[in-house]
């Protein structure tokens, strides 16, 4: 079978590209769509640097053959601050020195986004579990976990101030 046209809704835009058989979503995003925030740390499902949301769930884009998710909705880090405005997770990472080399950051943030979509007030253990598939070799994780707890607080406060419900799962709905 020859290459195939893959259609995805990526960061709210309909995108199409041609993929060779067995192309991973990570490769499709990076090499075909020019979305390079998701990183290839291992291509084995071991590092989490390629974490993105597919149909609202945090998954490892290196382990998804694009043919198997044709038509899916994908959100990458590029889609989190699409309007140029950092969201709570990003700004908490920025303020909390939760980045060093920055290579794990896109995956960490997407794993955190998925956690906060499900749980607006996670405890430390829940944060640790949410990023347990994401490796960071620089920080020792402590600033990252602090930043995610801080981001949850910022988001709750922002939603409360706006009179909105704390839990928003538009992509799941």
């Amino acid at each position: 079978m020859a290459s195939q046209v893959i259609a995805l809704v990526v960061n709210d835009e309909e995108r199409e590209f041609i993929a060779k058989p067995g192309t991973s979503l990570l490769s499709g995003l990076r090499d075909s769509l020019g979305l390079t925030a998701a990183k290839r740390g291992c291509a084995q499902g071991g590092c989490g640097a390629c974490t993105v949301l597919v149909d609202g769930k945090a998954v490892l884009s290196c382990l998804l053959a694009v043919e198997t998710i044709n038509g899916a909705t994908v959100r990458t880090l590029e889609g989190v601050a699409a309007d140029g405005q950092l969201d709570e997770v990003q700004s908490a990472f920025l303020d909390g020195f939760a980045t060093q080399c920055g290579f794990c950051t896109p995956g960490m943030i997407m794993a955190a986004e998925a956690l906060l979509d499900r749980n607006p007030d996670p405890g430390e253990d829940e944060v640790a579990e949410a990023i347990s598939g994401n490796h960071c070799r620089c920080t020792g994780y402590r600033p990252i976990m602090n930043a995610i707890v801080d981001a949850a607080r910022r988001r709750r406060e922002a939603r409360a101030a706006a009179g909105a419900p704390a839990r928003v799962s538009e992509e799941v709905a």
Binding site: K20, G22, R30, D31, G34, T36, A37, A38, K39, R40, G41, C42, A43, Q44, G46, C47, A49, T76, L77, E78, V80, A81, L86, Q90, S91, A92, F93, L94, D95, G96, F97, T99, C101, G102, F103, C104, T105, P106, I109, H135, C136, R137, C138, N146, D150
Partner: protein, 461 residues
């Protein structure tokens, strides 16, 4: 966010009373953090030049063997394969990275020539249109070997009759100024050991430690219209890589341009010029952009780790806790090639006998070649494992004497004006004060005379 900012301890640093600092004591955002949290930071692999080719490496399947033949015909028959490269394609195939500072001999091939000396050594590079084709072809390179005896242990490698790992050295040690090891001789250790109240000898051993950066080692080389090569690399040492690559390519450095500085974790693991030369040769041979990046397996298997070290420490110790002599036999496993290890072992020697004033010191520090993955730089290489050994030794001596481990260290800590084993006069020492402060913070009580000690004098020690 609450930040705990460290203030300057004016008890100790009386000269630093002036506090007109603009950075110290304030929160300064990292300059690269905005790019990191938005995913806009450009790592080398985020480049996507048109018509880019992919390199994958066929690696040695033996620890030590003569290469009888390399057959690339099946590899070249794979659809999408453009070239297969062997040692004959590399202008100056033999190198050693520290030749830039005059360390030699050249002892390592870019691509194996005649012999492989460790499992995973690069033998033949395949250049292909897709990563999948490059993988497929690299697996189809056929190498015939004649096995040679291999040695994996540092002391076995130095024993008479051991197989010679690296003919360019002629023996399994790196030669330091005509000696088989880096030596330290200060005072008379034999006499100190003979006259000591106690002699303690223990052995310490570490395994290789992989840096395991989140981003694997790699580069993308893009030929420019003016004939130069633009190298996007995650090297930790842009100009070091550029100069070494220029020597290997036999090209003036001005023909190369490195774009780097954004490194997805290095920890010392990205200073070995591991991928750039082959990628450059492939780019020159094809006239097209080339990507050569380790996969995770390669990063763990063949990127150079911190050396395994074996350390014997024998100390002459008096009943009052003074260490009067220290004898160290130190072996670092460089693996099959020098890389940065000759420098690491010099650092080890320079670090001995630890931050203590010991009047008699004897050390033999060996940089040993074995048929293991070459080791190289990693965070304080040459020093960290040694410190583990030295400080473990201090704790064990304290335990053996029934002494307080901090008091033992305070008795032996170096002071300003002490002559170290390398005949350098110590200055700016602060170990005494650091121990006192640490003891205070953790609630470890020190007697008054130990609390009064100072780095400025030997009074009370």
């Amino acid at each position: 966010m609450n930040y705990r900012l460290a203030s300057i301890d004016k008890d100790y640093f009386a000269d630093q009373r002036d506090e007109r600092y603009s950075v110290i004591g304030s929160v300064v955002q990292r300059s690269d953090a905005f790019g990191h949290v938005t995913g806009r930071t450009e790592f080398f692999e985020d480049q996507a030049p048109a018509r880019m080719l992919h390199v994958k490496m066929h690696r040695s399947q033996r620890h030590h063997a003569r290469i009888r033949g390399i057959d690339v015909s099946a590899a070249e028959a794979v659809p999408g394969v453009v070239r297969a490269l062997t040692h004959a394609d590399i202008p100056n195939n033999l190198y050693t990275p520290l030749k830039l500072i005059g360390i030699g001999p050249d002892d390592e091939p870019i691509l194996a020539e005649g012999t492989v000396r460790y499992l995973g050594e690069p033998v033949c590079a395949v250049v292909a249109e897709t990563e999948a084709a490059a993988y497929d072809a690299a697996a189809r390179v056929a190498v015939s070997y004649e096995d040679l005896p291999a040695v994996f242990d540092v002391e076995e490698a130095l024993a008479p009759g051991a197989p010679v790992v690296n003919e360019y050295h002629g023996h399994n040690y790196f030669t330091y100024e005509g000696h088989h090891c880096r030596r330290l001789r200060f005072g008379d250790v034999d006499r100190a050991l003979a006259t000591a109240d106690h002699v303690f000898e223990w052995r310490y051993q570490s395994s290789p430690i992989e840096q395991a950066p989140a981003e694997t080692t790699g580069c993308i080389v893009v030929p420019q219209p003016d004939g130069r090569l633009r190298i996007h690399s995650d090297t930790q040492a842009c100009f070091f890589t550029l100069d070494n690559t220029a020597l290997i390519l036999n090209t003036p450095p001005g023909k190369l341009r490195i774009v780097g500085g954004t490194v997805g974790g290095g920890f010392g693991g990205k200073v070995d010029v591991a991928v750039e030369p082959v990628a450059c040769v492939a780019a020159m041979a094809t006239g097209r952009p080339v990507k050569y990046v380790y996969n995770r397996y390669e990063e763990m298997q063949v990127s150079s780790p911190r050396a395994a070290e074996r350390i014997y420490i024998k100390d002459a110790v008096m009943n009052d806790g003074r260490i009067t002599g220290r004898q160290i036999r130190f072996y670092a496993d460089a693996g099959a090639y020098s890389r940065h290890s000759p420098y690491a072992i010099t650092k080890s020697a320079a670090h001995m006998p630890g931050p203590y004033t010991i009047p008699n010191v004897w050390a033999d520090c060996h940089c040993v070649f074995t048929n293991r993955t070459p080791s190289s730089a990693m965070r304080g290489f040459g020093v960290t494992i040694l410190d583990f050994a030295l400080e473990s030794q201090m704790d064990r001596i304290a335990r053996a004497l029934g002494a307080d481990p901090l008091q033992l260290r305070l008795i032996n800590a170096y002071r300003d004006g002490d002559v170290k084993a390398h005949r350098k006069v110590a200055e700016g020492t602060a170990l005494v004060e650091v121990i006192q402060k640490a003891a205070e913070i953790v609630g470890h009580e020190l007697p008054e005379d130990f609390r009064r000690m100072s780095s400025a004098s030997r009074e009370g020690a």
